[in-house]
């Protein structure tokens, strides 16, 4: 089953208003080829779930610059001054989620877990409106799962059926984000034959991947 397609084909069924998981830490491990493809296709009004918005003019910052994002769920926007400006100006809505909680929520969404109890955020503004549940005398916030229409993934190596390997800290959110979307589109720096990756070294099983393009 060869999942390698053109970027045109990979993105043709998307539409305005989608919720998209986009990994990356600052500007490492960001699926920039797919982001540029989205801009070329003209899709807008997007809900982005990411850790941050890269840096000005790169990665997710391109979507910010082109005004394609309606709402962003993330832990940090400080590394992109343009995002900060647009949030302050009311052009982008933002919901901040602590970085570890973001990981837990997306993983829960991808793993059929209905919610997780975390100490993170207790007694802070993040706790507002969330149930506090006590387990064995300790209090925790109940955080709900996150799931998206689409996930964009940046891999170092992909075999043609979608088994993926990430490189160093470019792995970051890619591994979890690949589990929690209806449609998973991968860009890979290198596409290899099936069998070229050691079964113990594969970070993301091919069964999670729908399409692959060259990064």
């Amino acid at each position: 089953m060869d999942k390698v397609v053109s970027i045109d084909r990979a993105l043709e069924k998307l539409h305005d208003g989608l919720t998209i998981l986009i990994p990356g830490f600052v500007n490492t491990g960001v699926p920039e080829t797919l982001i540029k493809g989205v801009i070329d296709k003209g899709y807008t009004n997007l809900n982005v779930i990411s850790n941050n918005t890269s840096i000005k003019g790169r990665g997710i910052g391109l979507l910010v610059h082109e005004n394609r994002i309606r709402h962003i769920t993330c832990s940090h926007i400080g590394s992109n001054t343009e995002t900060v400006e647009k949030v302050v100006a009311g052009e982008i809505d933002v919901t901040f989620v602590p970085q570890g909680t973001l990981c837990e929520r997306v993983r829960a969404g991808g793993a059929g877990i209905g919610g997780i109890l975390t100490p993170t955020g207790l007694g802070t503004p993040i706790a507002e409106g969330k149930p506090v549940i006590e387990v064995d005398g300790k209090k925790y916030l109940l955080e709900k799962p996150l799931h998206a229409d689409v996930a964009f993934i940046h891999a170092w190596k992909a075999d043609k059926m979608g088994n993926l390997v990430y490189r160093r800290t470019a792995r970051n959110f890619n591994q979890i984000f690949a589990t929690a979307a209806d449609l998973v589109i991968v860009e890979a720096e290198e596409i290899v034959e099936v069998g070229a990756l050691d079964p113990d070294v594969i970070h993301t099983p091919g069964c999670l991947v729908d399409m692959i393009v060259r990064a």
């Binding site: 993330c74 926007i77 970085q99 837990e104 993170t120 007694g123 802070t124 979890i176 970070h203």
Partner: protein, 221 residues
């Protein structure tokens, strides 16, 4: 030893680390601790973006891998024996009590161990990043801070006024004047910088301090 100011803070903070500890250092002042790790102590640096063992920026002209970045997104180097993992695993280590200490700065910190260091309403909209998880999860939470803000106002308060990063999680506060230990009973003045008196600290602190009969020195030989 002629340490003072931020160097003194970094020097003293680095003395909290034990051999083999996994330690997370916040961006900025906390990374200066690396200049003061005592001999014989091998500390491993945890970066919340999914890596243990970063050693800092490559030298000018040195080869590097652009995929190896630190918690600020800057290119770094990975030492032998270091390893990489995903962000979910990373925060599992942090919240699970596998990180011996996290070192962060503060806008405000108070005598109940509350910390505010992520937002000033109406002024900053950066987001909390990993700070809330780090402060809730690390075994020891050490705040490195100048004792007062730029206008000379106390940063160590009875009660934080800014939105919190975490409640009742701070263990130690290290400033250029002293080391404060947050205990069940309150903030204990455990150590003083050379030439600084308890009265000096009290006059620059809003929080109520517990003053023991003997107070140690921040400088140890």
């Amino acid at each position: 030893m002629e340490l003072q100011g931020r160097d003194l803070i970094a020097y003293r903070t680095a003395r909290f680390f034990e051999d083999g500890d996994l330690v997370n250092l916040g961006i900025g002042m906390p990374t200066q601790c690396l200049n003061f790790i005592p001999q014989g102590i091998d500390v491993w640096i945890d970066s919340e973006n999914g890596v243990i063992g970063l050693t800092g920026a490559p030298q000018e002209g040195e080869e590097f891998d652009p995929n190896v970045v630190d918690a600020s997104g800057a290119v770094s180097k990975l030492r032998t024996g270091g390893c990489c993992f995903d962000s979910f695993t990373s925060f599992g280590l942090i919240r699970g009590g596998h990180v011996a200490a996290t070192v962060l700065g503060a806008y405000e910190v108070d005598q109940e161990g509350n910390l505010a260091n992520w937002t000033v309403p109406g002024k900053t909209v950066a987001g909390m990043g990993g700070a809330m998880d780090l402060v809730s999860g690390a075994l020891k939470v050490i705040i490195m801070t100048e004792h007062c803000d730029k206008r000379g106002n106390p940063k160590i308060l009875k009660k934080c006024t800014l939105p919190l990063t975490a409640a009742a999680e701070v263990d130690y506060i290290v400033s250029e004047l002293c080391v404060l230990h947050r205990t069940e009973k309150g903030l204990v003045l455990e150590e003083l910088a050379p030439g600084v008196t308890a009265q000096d600290v009290i006059s620059k602190t809003d929080a109520v301090l517990i003053i023991p009969e003997t107070i140690g020195s921040m400088i140890k030989e």
